[in-house]
Amino acid sequence: MSLIRETFREITIYDWILFAALTLFSISGSFLVKGLASTGDTATVEVNGKLLYRLSLTEDRTVEVQGPIGVTRIEVRQGRIRIADSPCPNKLCVRQGWTERGAIICLPNRVVVTIGGGATGEVDAISG
């Protein structure tokens, strides 16, 4: 297809520079934030900005929390945590699977699971 080739040729040098700069920026950013991902042997469970549980990752456990659209089930097994079941439509949080650093967020049901430190009392208000 000559049109496709022509379209490709019309990409300017500035397009490529922008592409390279943005790629570099986000790749270096991903290394930067990796260091930010908190670890620890506790995890906090918040719904709608309210701290509901502070779980120890050394102790296997299953908790269920009620969010705006239903019940989210959170499991702790062998030092890791996951959202096992969620009423949200896209199930991104469930697909994230077992995690031992950082956080799991389920936006539709307003559930935030944070590993390590997490909520230290200064939970902001949630609007909207």
Binding site: T7, T12, I27, V33, P108
Partner: protein, 180 residues
Amino acid sequence: MQSQDRLRIAILAAYAIGLHGLERMIPAPLPWMRFGFANIITLTALILYGLRVAMTITLIRVLIVSLLTGSFLGPGFVLSLGGGVASTLIMSGAYSLFSALFSPVGISLIGSMAHNLTQLTLAYLLFVRRMEAILFITPIILLLGIITGMINGMASGLLLKKLGEEGASPRTETAMDREP
């Protein structure tokens, strides 16, 4: 607004909604990924007919899709609206300032960045309120946005070429070009 513009807006908005619907049927290879195919239409409309037509198309698309999927006024709707409006505005600014430098691919990349950064900011302000969680997903979302931005930009470039070949009327100086 001339009746010709209304016709263009209606047809292009229908295409944008169709592409948006098509995209929802394709399972995303990565959980956070959205292709943003509708942006092909927004960008093409922006280049051919200007900001007002492109913005109207974006607003119609976000509204109709949210009504069809039942997410009207929900978190997804707020994020779609914010991302769509911001990227259309920024792309329009970038096109009028830098159209000598960038092809549609560059404008699309800028739009993709605007879309994602706006959505991340909105998600932080309205829903999540955990800076480290937002920061954690930012690079991967931006990276995916660069890839889809490239693809959509090339698709838009191809579409513009095809339309040009078939002699579709290019952007002409009409009343709608001058913003009130």
